[in-house]
């Protein structure tokens, strides 16, 4: 079955992973900008990273017939450095016209601090100014509930935001309802330990239905599985769900959401 992985950090993966993804049915990827595992020291580090995301990765993906899209930002972890964050935000428009850029992301919170919230809102200003879609990272583990509620407060308190153009990622059982009931898109991240298993994602699809809901692997440099979406497909098939339902979650929904920014080639 063809599928789209709407959140996958391919800069951290090998070319073999692209081949495996293609063999398993992956036809498109969207790659949000994220933390490299260490704090970068200058705006030029981000400029090079954005060149990698907008030039090198699309070519690498294309060798395996996979369309590559991306999102740009300085991530929440590095947003504690407000001065650097502002330099990066000022530089981002250099890349917004690149043909694979879908919007601003993954912006969000990490430890739910004042600086993170300040930089989050400045990213939102940038997205509004340039009419960009937004992809949001919600914090991990014990910080997730508080951080997700704070992010939703900031978005819902901003009358400029079109909620149908915002994807809130890494939802789990205690946050999904807040995201969906307020009109945002929600992404479930299939991660081995710290986020969500294919079984729990299938439970949430059964509980809330497929509307505005998608799944991703968030494969990166940490313990993660870039082919996690086929695991979800298999779990849904095992439970007897229809091809239409599965296809809606893993293909149609990301396509519908991303088509608001850039037309997909498939």
């Amino acid at each position: 079955m063809d599928y789209i992985d709407p959140h996958l950090h391919m800069v951290s993966r090998t070319t073999d992973d692209y081949e495996t993804l293609a063999r398993m049915g992956c036809v498109a990827i969207s790659e949000p900008a994220f933390w490299a595992g260490f704090d970068r020291g200058s705006v030029d580090s981000f400029r090079d990273y954005f060149r990698q995301l907008t030039d090198f990765e699309p070519k690498r993906a294309a060798q395996y017939g996979i369309a590559h899209f991306t999102w740009l930002c300085i991530n929440a972890k590095e947003a504690e450095n407000v001065t650097l964050s502002r330099e990066v935000i000022a530089m981002i428009p250099e890349f917004l016209d690149c043909k694979n850029v879908l919007g601003i992301g993954e912006i969000g919170l990490n430890k739910n601090t004042r600086n993170e919230a300040t930089i989050f809102m400045e990213h939102v200003d940038l997205a509004v100014k340039y009419k960009q879609q937004i992809l949001i990272h919600t914090p991990h583990l014990e910080d997730k509930y508080q951080g997700t509620r704070m992010i939703l407060d900031m978005l819902m308190g901003d009358s400029r935001i079109d909620r149908s153009r915002v994807l809130v990622d890494h939802v789990e059982e205690h946050t999904i309802e807040h995201v969906l009931e307020n009109g945002f898109w929600a992404g479930m991240t299939l991660y081995p330990v710290s986020k969500c298993t294919p079984q729990r994602a299938a439970d949430m699809i059964e509980r809330y239905g497929p509307e505005r809901l998608m799944a991703n692997s968030a494969g990166d440099w940490g313990p993660s599985k870039p082919t996690a979406i086929p695991d979800l497909i298999m779990e849904l098939k095992k439970r007897g769900h229809s091809r239409e339902l599965i296809q809606r979650v893993v293909y149609e929904n990301p396509r519908t959401f991303f088509n608001q920014s850039k037309p997909f080639p498939h």
């Binding site: 739910n112 004042r114 919230a117 300040t118 809102m121 939102v124 200003d125 509004v128 583990l141 014990e142 910080d143 997730k144 509930y145 508080q146 509620r149 704070m150 407060d153 900031m154 308190g157 901003d158 009358s159 400029r160 935001i161 789990e172 059982e173 205690h174 309802e177 969906l180 009931e181 079984q199 729990r200 439970d203 699809i205 059964e206 509980r207 809330y208 239905g209 497929p210 509307e211 095992k238 439970r239 007897g240 769900h241 339902l245």
Partner: protein
């Protein structure tokens, strides 16, 4: 919100039959973790994490629904609706 629950294709009996081995393995893993803590030196009576684990296990055994959501909330930091005032954050785009 209006829940658009999808009719479960599987009966409760089917789910118990099909998921039993996975659930069994996870209970044994949890039991072995508690045994490991018990055998080790040191005291965890004051450990917040240990208290959370014990409270989480109580949720598994009670008669209430939405166990996964409740365990998640148990393990979460509190949300304060007044956080923007506390942090002196100015609202944008209002």
């Amino acid at each position: 919100m209006s829940i658009k629950q999808i009719t479960a294709e599987r009966s409760a009996q089917q789910i118990v039959a099909e998921d039993f081995m996975i659930a069994r393995a996870r209970i044994v893993e949890l039991a072995a973790t508690l045994d490991r803590i018990e055998r080790a030196t040191g005291d965890v009576d004051d450990s917040k994490n240990m208290q959370l684990l014990m409270q989480g296990m109580h949720i598994l055994c009670d008669d209430e629904v939405e166990k996964a959501k409740r365990v998640q909330l148990l393990m979460s930091r509190q949300y304060d609706p007044q956080w923007q005032v506390q942090m002196s954050i100015e609202r944008k785009g209002t």
